[in-house]
Symmetry: none
């Protein structure tokens, strides 16, 4: 048995790692998938559909690696199709791979549209019903929770309603725990979805789910209408990635259902994580979130027109449909930026617990943050750099070293060989150190040279390694002359910390993030030593 | 009288230049506004709401300049509010400015939500009704077509339905030609919008319009539901720009209504301009279009999963809700590890039409694609590089230049200044060219030096510029020594093409993508010249 979804009315089924991976421009590594799995589980979704082990060997590797991880809320789910025509489930290669994934739940798709049965998979309508029923029964016999995805259900229902319903009955007879109606081509209208779902709830019964795509721009409305007609599982992807125009964006569905329809989708206290989770997933996927995304977008509660700003100052509900804080987003006035003072205050108090909301220091840090954000900094994924910003602003900072200069030579030779060399000179308490290193690319060379120089003074840095390195091009319009933001994740084997650098030059941006990483580690060593004596 | 909207059932009212300009990040110059006005008129929308002359002096300048332009389809519309409390319309400064705009139509907004009347504009419910009626009557006396925007109508209707309806009656009594129901806060549900609109159509009558915002992600569905309830004017912005989460995206509304509900929105023959117009407006606004945008997005008809590609090859309606050509978009099969042999064959045939699925050449290209993907290449966003791969594999390629060597020096000086210089030597038909350039970062310097060198031989390259530059770090676990994939989008003002490079060194990866970009352009010049002689 899988774990219950907590005190929720609606089971949220997230397919970011499966249907989301079918979006143009998305390509998750196994490591990315593990990070996103942890984030979604922490948020409290009920199911995480994480891959198609039958069609993709990388997905099978993921399922092997994820077995050691203890999930709190979510049932890990592997995705695949019903058995092929004329093959027993236990003999079907795709199904064998699904079993190897050893997940508590499986999601199995089958055909509901008669045209797809006869013209795309080239079998008979009868055999298709048997394929559905047999596959459900097989997975139930293995003790799995089984979600049946009725692909193209709404198109099938329009074309041949009797047959479409018969496919659902086959799944039910086979023992499916959930029957999910898929609006695969994404072109249906809300009223159609409502009517067909209501009919299924009445005629087929059991636990019904909905899976919508956004080709007509109505995936959210279609999902909500299905829930109003009785569906209790909502499938989608966390920020709407997916084939073509994407799957329904679960952030939007959760925001609407939980705040306005009083249907609980996430465990208590988790709704505030809606926005931070979206930003984290986008960061891991290396995708820019659409600023105008409902609920979680950066502009979703940004007021620009003068009359709007005036109205919101008088009463927030004049131009806001919900309170942004409930979903972890924030209100912004674009002409007179006011950041979330209390959030920042919490960070400041970690450095100096005596500072108050109205202290001059709070004002100074907010001012500095505003300037840095204007330059392209973003501290959501780089809290260690932000701690250093606070320390520098409050005068609680003394550099561990100073850079005299560095020089990088990156060369492509006539024989086609390529080399990168960094030369660097630093100064620690009046002592100089000059080092050089070759690397796999200019940033790697610079990283090695800096590390070599610092280890002469701070041997503890030997244990530090860089765990992740990400580059985001800001303002892509100016192409190779645009600004870049570099995000570095470092680790010493026990802790992980993240730092950021922004510049027009990718090497300078990387340098800024590298320096923050080393300084933060040295700071933590001092704090640890100090607390041992106090 | 304004011009008729042609043979359409639905009057499309575009507010890109007014409500769209209230979006974060949008700032139109007068020149931009004129360009967009021409494009929207060419497309055949019925109304172009182009500014708020009372609140914005730049808008008044626009209206002066646009007077000389003869529009074919659209009625130019100026936007403003009802008269202020206690002031006659002819004495109200905002209204005077509206009159100065000398547009055939005006759109006037007034308050429908009792809370806004009493708490935001601080007047009485009675005076608000008089403000609406007087203002309508004043503009009708000047011979204008008058569109009344009932701001916050749906929230008002929920709070005090009697009063909300009374405000519409006041507009009707004053002589408004259209009464437009505004879902200003963007949080309503489709069924609510349908019910309230149907009631207004029945109880108030006349020509009704709908204006939706997207805060709940349901603006398209809400607009369609209002049309189904009898609304015949749809207000929105062309690609969905607007306050907060934006206005309804008119591209999506037009696509749905015209292709699926048989409601004509644009004059005959204009639907194919839907996608090119969206790209043009985004270009003028200097905004990247969301790739997943329904109907007009670059990914809207892009198929990636193997089963999807296979299905679409058998029958396009298996995974497409409409034919992309009808709206000027196109189907794409993404090159990836999940794509099948037939997708690749189609690409090969563009280079050599005689090759078959079982030819040895097909096998060779597939083998090469597999190797390159293993190295970290991904061709789904870089089809021009893939064409070059095919040409190289088939022996249909001759380099336009050879690199002797390049050298990049990136330096951080003791005084903190930072510089990047590239030196490069290339060879074209035995002639050498040595150039050097400074840039904003190493890649920009290299780009400039290469361009300088090539222009000596190929002056046509002068018109090429880089439109986009993206970096993706692969295998982030090896951090700064990881491989990177660089994606470059180039343009010559008419066409856009994309190329890719992968390497452990970001500079080498950028170099590979830059070289592909230049070579692809030179190849296309030769093809164009050749076809002119054949």
């Amino acid at each position: 048995m899988t774990k219950p979804a907590g005190n929720t009315n609606i089971a949220v089924f997230d397919s970011t790692l499966r249907d989301g991976a079918q979006a143009e421009g998305i390509s998750f590594s196994v490591e990315d998938k593990i990070k996103i799995t942890r984030a979604l589980d922490e948020l409290g979704v009920a199911y995480i559909e994480a891959g198609n082990p039958g069609s993709n060997p990388k997905d099978l590797e993921f399922f092997q690696r994820v077995k050691g991880i203890n999930l709190k809320h979510a049932a890990l789910t592997a995705f695949g199709s019903t058995r092929r025509p004329g093959v027993a489930p236990a003999e079907d290669d795709n199904i064998k791979n699904l079993v190897l994934a050893e997940t508590p739940a499986v999601a199995i798709f089958g055909k509901s549209w008669d045209f797809h049965v006869t013209d795309i998979i080239n079998t008979t309508l009868e055999e298709n019903l048997a394929m559905i029923q047999d596959t459900m029964a097989y997975f139930k016999s293995l003790g799995k929770e089984v979600v049946y995805d009725a692909e193209h259900f709404f198109d099938g229902y329009k074309n041949n309603p009797e047959y479409a319903i018969a496919t659902l009955q086959a799944a039910k007879t086979g023992g499916a725990d959930w029957i999910v109606l898929c609006e695969t081509n994404g072109g249906a209208f809300p009223q159609e979805v409502f009517d067909a779902t209501a009919l299924v709830v009445k005629e087929v019964g059991g636990k019904i789910g909905i899976h919508c795509h956004n080709d007509g721009g109505m995936a959210v409305a279609n999902t909500i209408m299905a829930v109003e007609a009785g569906a209790r599982q909502v499938q989608g992807t966390y920020v709407g990635f997916g084939e073509r125009c994407g799957n329904v964006n679960l952030c939007t569905v959760i925001g609407n259902l939980q705040l306005k329809k009083r249907m609980q989708c996430l465990p208590d206290g988790k709704l505030q994580e809606l926005t931070p989770t979206a930003r984290y997933i986008a960061e891991v996927a290396n995708i820019s979130l659409n600023e105008r995304e409902p609920f979680i977008g950066n502009s979703a509660f940004a007021h620009k027109g003068g009359m709007h700003i005036d109205g919101v100052h008088k009463n927030v509900r004049s131009f806001e449909h919900v309170d942004p804080e409930k979903i972890g987003n924030k209100r912004r006035f674009l002409m007179s930026e006011v950041a979330g003072r209390s959030t920042i205050l919490n960070k400041i108090r970690k450095v100096n617990p005596n500072i108050r909301k109205d202290s001059e220091e709070t004002q100074l840090v907010m001012q500095r943050l505003k300037e840095l954000e204007h330059e392209g900094y973003q501290f959501e994924g780089a809290e260690s750099s932000f701690e250093l910003v606070i320390r520098k602003t409050l005068g609680k900072y003394k550099p561990f070293f100073t850079l005299d200069h560095f020089k990088i030579i990156d060369e492509q030779m006539p024989d086609g060989t390529h080399s990168s060399t960094a030369i660097l000179k630093i100064n620690v308490d009046g002592k100089e150190e000059v080092t050089a290193a070759e690397g796999n690319g200019p940033v790697n060379a610079l990283d090695k040279a800096l590390r070599k120089a610092l280890e002469a003074f701070y041997p503890e840095l030997k244990e530090v390694y860089l765990a992740d390195y990400k580059v985001r091009v800001l303002d892509t319009r100016s192409a190779t002359a645009s600004r870049v933001r570099v995000l570095i994740e470092s680790s010493d084997g026990r802790y992980v910390w993240s730092t950021v650098g922004v510049s027009g030059d990718i090497i300078e941006a990387s340098w800024l993030a590298l320096v923050d990483s080393m300084e933060y580690k040295l700071l933590k060593i001092i704090e640890e030593k100090a607390s041992a004596y106090m």
